[in-house]
C-alpha cells in the first residue's frame, strides 16, 4: 500500500471544531426561526452528529464528490456549503441554490460535486458510485466520493444495491453510517438483526471502519483513514459511527421515544461539548477563545439570517414551470 495516513494535527482538530460550532449555532438559529414560524416546511437538525459529519466533509478535497444526508449540516459547511445558502434554502429565498423549488436539507450544487439528496434513503449511494464511475471512465484517478446515511438507511434496497455495485467495480466510495439509534422513532432493535452494522462490510466485500461518533479526534482519524484507503485504490469503505441523535427527527418531533438510559449513556454525550472540554484540557484553546469563536459564529449566522429575511421570495409568475431542460420537449396541457 502506498502513502501512510497523515496524523490528525491540533490545527486539524481546531479547524474541524470551529465548523462544528458554526453548524451548531446555525442549527440553533434554524430551530429558533422554526419556532417563530419563519421557516417554510420542516427543520431537520444534526445535533450530536457534527463530529462525524464534519470529519467527512472537511477531509474531502476539491474535486471529490459528496452526497450528504439529513443530519450533515457540519459536513456540508466543511465541504463548501455556506451559512447563507443554508438560510436561503430554509427561509425560501429566491436567491438560494434551490430557488424555492426544494427546501431545507434537499439542497446541493451537483455540478460542484455537492449532490442534492432526495428523500428516498439510500438513493445517493449508487448516484455517488455513478459519479465515480464516470470520472474513472474519463481517466481521472485519486478522486473519492462520500455519502452519509443513518441506521435506517442501511435497511433500504438502494443502500444494498449501491454499495454492492460499487464494490463490484471497486469504486473509491465512502459510505458513512451514523448509527444514531433511531430512524425517526424506530429503534435499532426493529431496524436490523445482525449483531453489528459493521458486520455488513464483510458481506459486501468492503473494508469496515468503526468510529466513536461522540469523539471528534476519533472521527477525524477514522474518516481520514477510510478516505485515504478509498483514494489509494482500496475500493469502497464502510464507516459506522456510534452516537445518539440529540434532537427529534425534525423540530416537530419531541423525540419522547428515545430511551432515558441511552440519553444517559456514553452515546448520549454531546460531541461539541466533549470537543470543547478536549480543547481546554489539551490547552489547545482557552475559554476566551471558545467564547470569541462562538460570538464570531453567532455574528455570521445572525447577519446572514437578517440579510436573507430581506431577500425576495420566489415569484410564481417568473417561473417557467418546466421540469425539462430542452425547450422543445416541454408541454403543459390542461394548465392555465
Amino acid at each position: 500500500m502506498a502513502k501512510p495516513v497523515a496524523p490528525v494535527s491540533t490545527s486539524d482538530y481546531i479547524k474541524a471544531y470551529r465548523v462544528m460550532l458554526v453548524s451548531r449555532v446555525l442549527e440553533d438559529k434554524l430551530a429558533a426561526l422554526y419556532r417563530a414560524g419563519m421557516i417554510k416546511g420542516g427543520v431537520f437538525l444534526g445535533k450530536g452528529q457534527e463530529a462525524l459529519s464534519v470529519s467527512v466533509g472537511i477531509q474531502l478535497r476539491r474535486g471529490d464528490l459528496f452526497a450528504p444526508l439529513i443530519r450533515d449540516q457540519a459536513g456540508r459547511l466543511a465541504f463548501g456549503d455556506t451559512v447563507l445558502d443554508t438560510l436561503r434554502t430554509y427561509l425560501g429565498s429566491a436567491l438560494g441554490s434551490m430557488r424555492g423549488r426544494d427546501g431545507n436539507i434537499h439542497r446541493g450544487r451537483p455540478r460542484d460535486g455537492y449532490y442534492a439528496m432526495i428523500s428516498h434513503l439510500g438513493a445517493m449511494v449508487p448516484a455517488v458510485a455513478g459519479g465515480l464511475l464516470a470520472r474513472r471512465l474519463r481517466g481521472e484517478s485519486g478522486i473519492v466520493g462520500a455519502t452519509c446515511l443513518g441506521d435506517g438507511g442501511t435497511s433500504t434496497g438502494a443502500f444494498h444495491e449501491g454499495l454492492n455495485a460499487a464494490a463490484v467495480d471497486k469504486l473509491p466510495l465512502l459510505v458513512v453510517v451514523a448509527n444514531n439509534r433511531y430512524a425517526y422513532s424506530t429503534p435499532n432493535s426493529r431496524q436490523y438483526a445482525c449483531a453489528d452494522l459493521l458486520d455488513k462490510a464483510a458481506g459486501y466485500g468492503v473494508t469496515g471502519h468503526r468510529a466513536d461518533g461522540t469523539d471528534l479526534a476519533d472521527c477525524l482519524r477514522t474518516l481520514r483513514t477510510a478516505i485515504h484507503q478509498a483514494r489509494e485504490g482500496g475500493g469502497p469503505q464502510l464507516v459506522v459511527a456510534d452516537l445518539l441523535r440529540l434532537v427529534g427527527h425534525g423540530e416537530h418531533d419531541d423525540a419522547s421515544y428515545v430511551e432515558e438510559s441511552l440519553k444517559k449513556s456514553r452515546l448520549g454525550a454531546d460531541c461539541l461539548q466533549l470537543a470543547e472540554s478536549h480543547l481546554l484540557d489539551q490547552k489547545w484553546a482557552s475559554a476566551d477563545d471558545l467564547r470569541s469563536w462562538r460570538n464570531e459564529a453567532e455574528r455570521e449566522v445572525n447577519a446572514a439570517a437578517d440579510r436573507v429575511r430581506r431577500e425576495p421570495i420566489p415569484d410564481p409568475a417568473e417561473e417557467d414551470w418546466t421540469a425539462l431542460s430542452t425547450a422543445t420537449m416541454r408541454e403543459n396541457p390542461g394548465t392555465p
Binding site: V125, P126, L133, A158, E161, G162, L324
Partner: protein, 320 residues
C-alpha cells in the same frame, strides 16, 4: 436488411463511436451482448465502455444519474421494461427531479424492452410508457419503426434530459428496413403513418402495425383510416393529432397498455378538451384488458388489441 433490434444496436454503436461521453451499463450487456443481443460485440469494439452491472435496477439507474451529473451520457438497459419498476424510484424521483431542483440536467437514456410477445407472460410483457409519462421531468419514447428505433435512440443520447426509451420487443426481429435514415422527424413530432379521410387511429409502438393492418381491412370495405404514429408519448404531439381529427372527425385510440390512465386516455382527454368541436362522434379507445398479461399465446392474443379488434372498433365508430 436491418431489423429493429439491429437498429438499436447500431444506434448504440454509433453513439459510442461518435461521443466519448457515452457508455453502456446493464445486466448481461458486456461479452454476452445482452438478453436480446442489443449490445452484441459492443464490449469488444469499445473496451471498458460496455459494462455488466449486478442485478440491481435501482443501482443501475442511480449510477447512470451520478455519471450524468459528472458529464457522461450513459445508456442503461433494463433487461425487461417490467423490471424497471425496481429502478422506478431513481427514474422518477431522482433523474426526473434533478434539473427542476438543481438546474443540473440529467442526460440519461433508460432502455426498456417493452410490450408483449407470445409466451412472455405477466412479468416480461408490460408497456409502462404511461406510468413514466405521469411524472414530470422525463421524455418517454415509443419508436414503432426500424428507422425511429435508430434515429430516436441517437437523438435521445444527444438530449440533455432523461429519456425512457420504450423499444418494443415484438418488433425486434420481424420488423426490417433496407437502410437507416440520415435524417428523421425530431422527438416530439408524431407521424401520419397512413393518410385517410374517414377516422383517425392514434397509436404507438407495436400497435402501429396492428392499426395499419386494420386500416388495410377497412380499405377493403372502401373506408380510409388515417393512422397516426405518436412516436413519442411525452411530449405528446397534440397538434398533429388534432389536425388529423380535424380532417376525419373521428378518433380511435389504440394502445397496448392497460386502460386506466393510459396513453389512449390522455389522447382522448386532449382531443375532447382542445378539439371537441372537431369530433363527429364520441371517441373510442381500445387497450389491453385490465389483467396481468397472460402467458398462454391463445390468451395473450385476445388480451391485447389486434388488427381484427381494431377493425371492429373502427367499423363501430364509422357505423358500418
Amino acid at each position: 436488411m436491418i431489423t429493429y433490434l439491429e437498429a438499436i444496436r447500431l444506434a448504440q454503436q454509433k453513439a459510442l463511436a461518435t461521443d466519448p461521453r457515452v457508455f453502456l451499463y446493464g445486466q448481461d450487456i458486456g461479452t454476452f451482448g445482452g438478453a436480446f443481443k442489443a449490445t452484441k460485440n459492443l464490449s469488444t469494439e469499445f473496451p471498458g465502455r460496455v459494462l455488466d452491472s449486478p442485478l440491481s435496477e435501482d443501482a443501475i439507474v442511480g449510477i447512470a444519474i451520478g455519471a450524468a451529473i459528472e458529464g457522461a451520457r450513459p445508456i442503461v438497459e433494463m433487461q425487461f421494461a417490467d423490471f424497471s419498476t425496481c429502478g422506478l424510484n431513481q427514474i422518477v424521483n431522482h433523474a426526473a427531479t434533478l434539473f427542476y431542483r438543481t438546474g443540473t440536467p440529467c442526460p440519461i437514456v433508460v432502455r426498456l424492452p417493452s410490450g408483449g410477445t407470445s409466451g412472455g407472460g405477466p412479468f416480461h410483457s408490460q408497456s409502462l410508457e404511461a406510468v413514466y409519462s405521469h411524472w414530470p421531468g422525463l421524455v418517454v419514447l415509443t419508436p414503432a419503426t426500424v428507422e425511429d428505433a435508430y434515429s430516436m435512440l441517437l437523438e435521445s443520447v444527444a438530449l440533455d434530459d432523461p429519456v425512457v426509451f420504450c423499444e418494443h420487443k415484438f418488433l425486434y426481429y420481424h420488423l426490417k428496413a433496407e437502410r437507416l435514415p440520415d435524417e428523421a422527424l425530431p422527438i416530439g413530432k408524431a407521424r401520419i403513418a397512413r393518410p385517410g379521410r374517414d377516422a383517425s387511429v392514434v397509436t404507438h409502438g407495436a400497435m402501429l402495425h396492428e392499426s395499419l393492418a386494420a386500416a388495410e381491412l377497412l380499405a377493403q370495405d372502401g373506408f380510409e383510416l388515417e393512422v397516426v404514429d405518436l412516436r413519442s408519448v411525452k411530449p405528446l404531439d397534440t397538434d398533429t393529432v388534432l389536425a388529423s381529427v380535424a380532417r376525419t372527425g373521428r378518433l380511435l385510440c389504440v394502445s397496448e397498455e392497460w386502460p386506466w390512465g393510459g396513453v389512449a386516455a390522455e389522447v382522448i382527454a386532449r382531443v375532447s378538451t382542445e378539439g371537441f368541436g372537431l369530433l363527429d362522434a364520441a371517441p373510442v379507445r381500445i387497450n389491453a384488458k385490465d389483467t396481468p398479461v397472460p402467458y398462454h399465446p391463445e390468451l395473450w392474443a385476445v388480451h391485447r388489441p389486434t388488427a381484427s379488434t381494431i377493425a371492429a372498433a373502427a367499423r363501430q365508430l364509422l357505423h358500418i
